[in-house]
């Protein structure tokens, strides 16, 4: 308060700064400008045949997009579902596989992180299984589970477990020694220390692991669904068979948008658990 009284000049200067000098305003203007140029290029290019045959114009695609988002929940048989249904189907698969993976990865990561023996014993598995492409599990999943729905969930599970597991282990194993010393000087038991100190201290790492896992799950589900049936991935595959390029573009855009929303949720959660630690 006192500071703002003593520097009235500064305040006035700030208030009088023209709108176009604001960074956000300028960034938004640049964004809109580049988008406009892109759409214009697309429109003109498609109309005058710069691209391969069959590429839709921007206006066609936008119209198509509008139709799909205003009619999300219709149902004309399994091969003709509204995009809302397909989105929900994909989200449901991701949710089940991802939540199951997290329920395994977080406790296991905590266990591996606090015990050097467990770390040495389990690290080889993690290092071996982590680099495997999720789709490599697909045939095995289909063979073992004999069900495309379960296989999709299994693939999400197996691919989204690693980032959470690794980050949790790292966070737990690298808790600031000072916090542990505080806990020790207070005579805390091991279990109490894990619950009250180690887990909260590792929470930022755990959440960023969950965030990476969520990103991977969303990447993988689309690819997996192309080989399964129903869901956004299958929608794209189906529209490719129908040679409906605008619909494919619509689906791509919706996949990106959903990924963005999911990631922002986790970004907000990350901020919430940081308490000034990485700001």
């Amino acid at each position: 308060m006192a500071a703002s009284h003593s520097t009235p000049g500064l305040i006035v200067a700030e208030r009088q700064a023209p709108l176009w000098q604001n960074e956000n305003v300028r960034a938004f203007a640049l964004f809109m400008l580049s988008l406009g140029i892109f759409l214009l290029f697309w429109e003109i290019g498609a109309k005058s045949g710069w691209f391969v045959k069959g590429v839709p114009t921007a206006t066609e695609t936008i119209k198509e997009f509008w139709w799909w988002v205003t009619n999300p929940f219709y149902r004309n048989g399994p091969n003709d579902l509204g995009i809302g249904w397909n989105l929900l189907i994909s989200l449901r698969r991701v949710a089940i596989g991802y939540i199951a993976a997290s329920l395994v990865a977080v406790p296991l990561g905590i266990l591996i992180g606090i015990s050097p023996v467990a770390f040495k014993a389990f690290n080889p598995y993690v290092q071996l299984l982590k680099p495997i492409s999720p789709l490599a599990w697909l045939p095995l999943g289909l063979y073992l589970l004999r069900d495309s729905e379960k296989t999709g969930i299994f693939i999400i599970f197996i691919s989204s477990i690693w980032p959470t597991l690794i980050n949790t282990t790292f966070g737990v194993a690298n808790v600031n020694q000072d916090y542990l010393d505080v806990s020790k000087t207070l005579g805390a038991s091991r279990l109490w220390t894990i619950w009250k100190v180690i887990i909260p201290a590792a929470l930022p790492n755990i959440v960023s692991g969950l965030r990476i896992s969520m990103g991977i799950a969303w990447l993988v589900i689309v690819a997996a669904e192309m080989l399964l049936g129903t869901g956004l991935g299958y929608f794209i595959w189906n529209e490719w068979n129908n040679l409906s390029i605008p619909n494919i573009l619509v689906a791509i855009f919706i996949i990106g948008l959903t990924g963005l929303v999911l990631d922002s949720l986790f970004a907000a959660l990350e901020k919430f658990v940081a308490f000034g630690r990485n700001s």
């Binding site: 505080v182 000087t185 005579g187 009250k196 909260p200 201290a201 929470l203 308490f275 000034g276 630690r277």
Partner: protein, 294 residues
Amino acid sequence: MSTAPVNVIDPVDTRSSTAQLSVRNVAKVFPGKKDLFSKLTGKTRRDFVAIQDISLDIEPNTFVSIIGPSGCGKSTLLNMIAGLSPVSGGEILLNGAPITGPGPDRGMVFQNYALMPWMTVEENLRFAVETVDPKISAKKRDRIIKEHIQLVGLTGAERKHPHELSGGMRQRVGIARALAINPQMLLMDEPFGALDALTRGFLQDEIERIWEQQRKTVIMITHSIEEALLLSDRIVMMTRGPAARIDEILEVPFPRPRNRDTIQQHPAYKGLKAEMESHLFRETRAVEAERVGG
């Protein structure tokens, strides 16, 4: 030890039966690396004798400062007293019983505060109180927390998280947390080392005021001669490492309550200050000389 300084006590004579804390011939050796793998990679390291044969008795209700050149092993000694690090030789007795590990009878104040960032001020204190006494009633617990927040002058900041506080305020929380568990003694490792001069001064005055109220035994490591003179009853001066020893122990005779202006008028002030300055100067110069020579 050659020139007769003011108020010097010979360390050997300080052994007494009334001591609350008794450090007896304590040594600390950090083991080197001599295994086959280290030999192959050429990264062997010899054993490092940080502390060799330190004996020190601390009476109840005294404020003791430890001062010495950087890297001489002050933190090592304090961590052994706290029970965070085992002794390599000798023993440390607390009320006659050897220290085997950390415990809530010794409250610790850390140089970098070591507050839990996800807990508010109040929660940091509550964590300490509940950890030490899990069965405490909510009423008693809240009273203790409130009292200690008041004691360090943090009323109003109870619901703030550490990152919202200044360094000085954070260390106030650190002190309140250490006192809230009602320890027999307080161990502080350069508690004001990370603070600016002005804040440091305020906190020193606070410590003096709180000490007058509670008169708990305190062991404080410091690099500041003025700080040691303002707060302590006795000042332990350590030699440089490796194999650091206690060089001498100064008795500080200023009457309490003290105040930084009045103690400077005391006839012993100049002599004590000069004694400490020359000790630190001598040791630090020797450290530098060894560094250049080696």
